[in-house]
Amino acid sequence: MKSEIILNNVSLDFPIYDAKSLSIRNKVLDIGNTISNKSKTNISDSGTIIQALKDITLKFNHGDKVAIIGSNGSGKTTLLKLIAGIYHPTSGNANIKGELSCMLDIGFGFEQDATGYENIILSNITRGLKKDTIDKLLPEIAEFSGLGEFLNMPFRTYSSGMQARLAFASAIANTPGILLIDEFFSTGDIDFSIKSKKKVLEMMDNSSILVFASHDLTMLDKICNKAICMKNGEISFSGNTKDVITYYKNL
């Protein structure tokens, strides 16, 4: 099956729930107010709403390596999570064909009391892999993580750098069709950071579609053949990587 990502006029409203809107007391008060018609407060169901994505239309085909560029809070991660199917569009439609593998919040699925080895298994079981598939990949992942003997120790004893190594190493088991990556190279020491970059490059080569959000413009320029620039939840510019990077730098 050919991979394809099509978004048509997709918008996403992101409700922010504060203590007020999560409590039922305000609901009841609200109903009371409506009945007695004393005040006409119009507290919406969802409290504050932030429009995280506005009217996004895009189409990626097999072979596209797409860079997503934009400042913090411009909607890069939200867009990736929408493509992944974690968020669903409020309006418009999203049509994603092909096997997905996400490296977004890679640190999920770890249990504090389980050992490194067990956590590799657990997080990949959550991703839908079978135990025997994981067993076959285990030596490679263990070797890649470089944690050696520590893999037999409980996760709670790991330092944050070691946790990041394990998180990254366990995420590489997926064989990618559509590969979604959010920037995460800031963790780990220099050695590991170089190693993980190399591994990701290899995975990117094998993927049919790559969508990659990052601030590392030189790296994006090297890898990607397409780019979009996000600003306030909208695509402000799209085209080939060089043009978009120039546009972004001049913002």
Partner: protein, 266 residues
């Protein structure tokens, strides 16, 4: 017919059931982790129940003026089933907001996947308490109905299905409105006294039929009655079926309408 074809709840349900391997493995592992670093492991819970139920048996059989042998099996079985069901109810409001929340925000498994993980874990926990009931029955030479061979699995399945539906429904409501969590937690202790766990329905005299107002009666009944040799009670089975059906309807409409919002609530 359209209601069923494009129903998100059904789609997610079927997807999750097909992926039984993942959640059952995770539940099994949760169980393993629970007992890690303990010497007696799972036997701690069994021992704990045995201790408290035995103590309660002597206290309440004296208060109620009952022969302890016949009361022991009733109390043990009721108490063990109650522990399972009440824990499910207490955990239900947190099924999406607790540990599942970071999964829901990081990976596109359907939210109900984590409900299966939680409920199957509870079922596994209950399963290794069943021998305790049987041991107690044998100790006091109690008669066990042979029909238990088919009624027990059916009863467990009905409770498991209900736990999935209930946890999803309540989990969604209380993820959105956080008041439900403390509300439900404060309702459960009095529910123990209102359910036929410590006392027998016939002790209520003229009011015995009032027990049918309590939904817990049905779920305790379908598992307990055959195990401890009480007669077949058609009302209890019909009641359990009706409650399942009711929950299913709520689940199909609520989950279909709002499951995509869960990620914003947790």
């Amino acid at each position: 017919m359209n209601f069923f074809i494009n129903n998100i709840a059904l789609k997610d349900l079927i997807y999750t059931i097909k992926n039984y391997y993942s959640w059952s493995y995770l539940s099994y592992f949760d169980l393993k982790l629970k007992y890690r670093r303990t010497f007696l492991g799972p036997w701690w819970v069994v021992l704990g129940i045995a201790i408290s139920a035995t103590a309660m048996c002597f206290l309440w059989s004296t208060i109620f003026n009952l022969y302890w042998k016949s009361y022991l099996t009733y109390l043990f079985s009721g108490f063990i089933i109650w522990m399972w069901i009440s824990q499910l109810v207490i955990d239900a409001p947190e099924v999406f907001t607790a540990s599942a929340s970071k999964y829901i925000k990081a990976y596109p498994n359907p939210p109900i996947f984590y409900v299966f993980r939680k409920c199957f874990f509870s079922l596994l926990l209950f399963l290794h308490h069943i021998p305790l009931i049987i041991i107690v029955c044998l100790l006091v030479n109690h008669r066990i109905n042979l029909s238990v061979l088919y009624s027990l699995p059916i009863g467990l399945l009905i409770i498991f299905i209900n736990s999935i539906l209930f946890s999803t429904n309540i989990g969604m409501i209380s993820a959105r409105y956080r008041d439900f969590d403390p509300l439900i937690k404060s309702l459960m202790p009095p529910m123990l006294l209102l359910s036929p766990v410590l006392w027998k329905p016939e002790m209520l005299g003229d009011f015995a039929s009032l027990i049918y107002l309590n939904p817990f009666t049905y779920f305790i009944g379908i598992v307990r009655n055959d195990v401890i040799g009480l007669g077949f009670d058609l009302y209890i089975w019909i009641g359990a079926m009706l409650l399942t059906f009711f929950q299913l309807i709520v689940f199909l409409s609520l989950y279909s309408a709002k499951s995509k919002r869960i990620v914003f609530w947790v």
